[in-house]
């Protein structure tokens, strides 16, 4: 959409990314345990929001099962580790794989019927998963929460932070690579004009399904990592509350921009620590802000800034990038 994709010769993007990464690498040395925890949770949301944005922002499909897929990832590796003693490092890819397979099944059922059907089916899936987790409490321990081991070694916030950072960088790099590849091009073609894309011989349904499966697998990976960091998996991970947070972060940050969801996730997670004293008011406030942004500035904060920068440069090159 309004992604100001820099050309091959433009080094601004990589330089900014390297700077941001350098700052993040210092976090365990400059933040206390509490804010380090916030940073870890923030990185989880970065993965969630960015992968949801890959689907919603770049192919125009709204899945309400993103949190549910994170839950699939978390419960898969969590149950395998807690009940069968499987090392979490083995369970981790299995969780992402199961999320991808379920995404393939769900998407295969409904994507050919159009975007509305995907939203309905994923919402239903999310609710059903909640019921199954609560009903099968002998396996999942329901709302009591399932105790799971760490990913590896002894518990350490610093290790967890670096693991989460590495995963986030991996996911973001993958998203960046996809967006610049032919696949990313076909994502946008499908979003902008389905009929035109189909008339050019693009397999529209398969492109959409591919985006859904990739995005779901990333959610599974993020959820699994998050579960092994929290050491307690509860139905909060696959809840619609968490789904809403991911959606609000993406929308406020900037749907359809690469940086938007990253900014939105870190900003909202940090902000929710500051306004925690207001209790559950913060969900209401995020909701109202997200509603306002979606209504009046659908490109989000980052989209607005990018538009403003492009207008300031006001050259023909800037016009091309809009």
């Amino acid at each position: 959409m309004s992604e100001a994709a820099p050309g091959k010769g433009n080094l601004a993007g990589p330089v900014w990314a390297a700077l941001a990464l350098a700052v993040f690498l210092t976090f365990p040395f400059i933040l206390d345990q509490y804010w380090l925890h916030t940073a870890i949770v923030g990185l989880f949301y970065v993965m969630m929001a960015s992968s949801w944005n890959l689907l919603a922002g770049f192919t125009g499909q709204v899945s309400f099962a993103h949190a549910a897929f994170a839950g699939i990832g978390a419960y898969t590796s969590g149950i395998l580790a807690a009940r069968f003693g499987l090392p979490p490092l083995v369970g981790l890819p299995l969780g992402a794989l199961l999320a991808a397979l379920l995404g393939l099944g769900l998407g295969g059922l409904c994507i050919r019927m159009g975007g509305i059907y995907l939203s309905l089916t994923t919402l239903a899936f999310s609710e059903i998963l909640r019921l199954v987790i609560n009903n099968e409490y002998q396996v999942t321990r329901g709302t009591m929460g399932l105790k799971v081991p760490t990913l590896f070694g002894a518990y350490s916030k610093t290790t967890s932070f670096y693991v989460m950072l590495a995963a986030a960088v991996l996911v973001l790099a993958l998203i960046r690579w996809i967006l610049r590849s032919d696949l990313g091009l076909s994502f946008r073609a499908v979003q902008n004009d389905e009929v035109a894309a189909a008339s050019l011989g693009l397999p529209v349904v398969r492109v959409r399904l591919t985006a859904f499966v990739i995005s779901s697998a990333m959610a599974g990976l993020a959820g699994s990592l998050y579960g092994h960091y929290l050491l307690l998996i509860t139905p909060h991970i696959p809840s619609l509350d968490l789904m809403f947070l991911v959606l609000a972060m993406t929308v406020i940050g900037g749907l359809g921009t690469f940086v938007g969801p990253i900014f939105g996730a870190l900003f909202l997670e940090a902000l929710s620590e500051y306004i925690r004293v207001w209790g559950e008011f913060h969900v209401l406030i995020f909701g109202l802000v997200a509603l306002g942004v979606a209504r009046f500035a659908p490109v989000g904060v980052v989209g607005l800034i990018q538009g403003w920068l492009a207008a300031r440069r006001a050259g023909p090159a800037a016009e091309e990038n809009r």
């Binding site: 019927m113 019921l131 199954v132 979606a294």
Partner: protein, 287 residues
């Protein structure tokens, strides 16, 4: 045997209520191609209003219900005008906006009405012996009759009035309808309001039986969505059939298979429909 008949009766009663609730979703999706994810939240708001008007303000319950539905109709008009209209032609944003709206409303209810179940007083007391086999609550029977009356009124509106003809024309072919001089923007506005009012009607009718809490709306929405997909998007006869099928399957499933998984049966139906007949029982595939 009388158990079986009881489940059957329950299934039919709930089925008609499901159908009533789904009519609103179907109307909006047929006309505007918009799914209103805040449908269930409007249903519970009507329930809260009817409880508030009749318990809090001491109004006649019937008047309280009418005011509740009217309030939801007006709220629906406001939502359409301020939030939905700017998204015309962009299905994705209407999905996102109505989903955010549903979360906002849920949290607002928590603050305004509190977490505890609320209900207006029953309209009637006691129970009636049905066919000499089992006793059935009078309130449920009264709710059923009122739901049937509202459904009948909706079908009369749809098939016997000028407005109904306009609605059917627009949902068949928007462009041709607008060439015939119909203003699609106004049809959208009124249809959205009416769709919300139908959610409100289902809410006020059912709240005496199932008290409302801030979060029950998700289940209400999902049930309505399953009914609409099962019946066929935009088909009103489909809503009736879909509602009855779902009501019966859920009640027999809960009775004979597992009550904890009552709502999972709806999801299984959804998957079967998408697998076998994706356009639904009465839907035409419009691609």
């Amino acid at each position: 045997m009388s158990d079986f008949l009881l489940y059957l009766t329950n299934g039919l009663v709930i089925g008609f209520i499901y159908a009533l609730s789904a009519l609103g979703v179907s109307l909006i999706v047929g006309i505007m191609n918009v799914i209103n994810f805040a449908h269930g939240e409007l249903y519970i708001l009507a329930g809260y209003f009817s409880a508030l008007f009749s318990v809090g303000l001491g109004l006649n319950p019937a008047l309280g219900m009418a005011l509740g539905v009217l309030a939801i109709f007006v709220l629906g008009l406001i939502i359409e005008r301020t939030l939905i209209r700017p998204t015309y032609g962009n299905d994705m944003y209407s999905l996102i906006i109505t989903f955010i709206l549903s979360i906002v409303l849920q949290n607002a209810y928590l603050f305004v009405f509190g977490p505890y179940p609320k209900k207006p007083p029953n309209w009637v007391k006691g129970s009636t012996e049905v066919l000499g086999l089992f006793f059935y609550g009078n309130q449920r029977l009264a709710s059923l009759l009122l739901a049937l009356a509202v459904i009948a009124a909706f079908f009369v509106l749809l098939h016997r009035t000028w407005f109904g003809r306009v609605v059917r024309a627009v949902s068949l072919d928007r462009e041709v309808a607008s060439l015939m001089g119909i203003d699609p923007v106004r049809v959208n506005l009124v249809s959205f309001g009416l769709g919300c009012a139908l959610a409100g009607a289902a809410g006020v009718i059912l709240t005496p039986i199932f008290p409302v809490t801030p979060t029950v709306g998700v289940g209400v929405s999902l049930t309505a969505f399953v009914v609409v997909v099962l019946g066929g998007m935009g088909s009103f006869v489909g809503c009736l059939a879909g509602g009855l099928v779902l009501g019966l399957v859920e009640n027999f499933g809960a009775a004979y298979i597992s009550s904890g998984y009552k709502h999972v049966f709806g999801f299984i139906i959804l998957i079967l429909v998408l697998l076998l007949r994706p356009a639904g029982l009465f839907g035409q595939r419009r691609l």
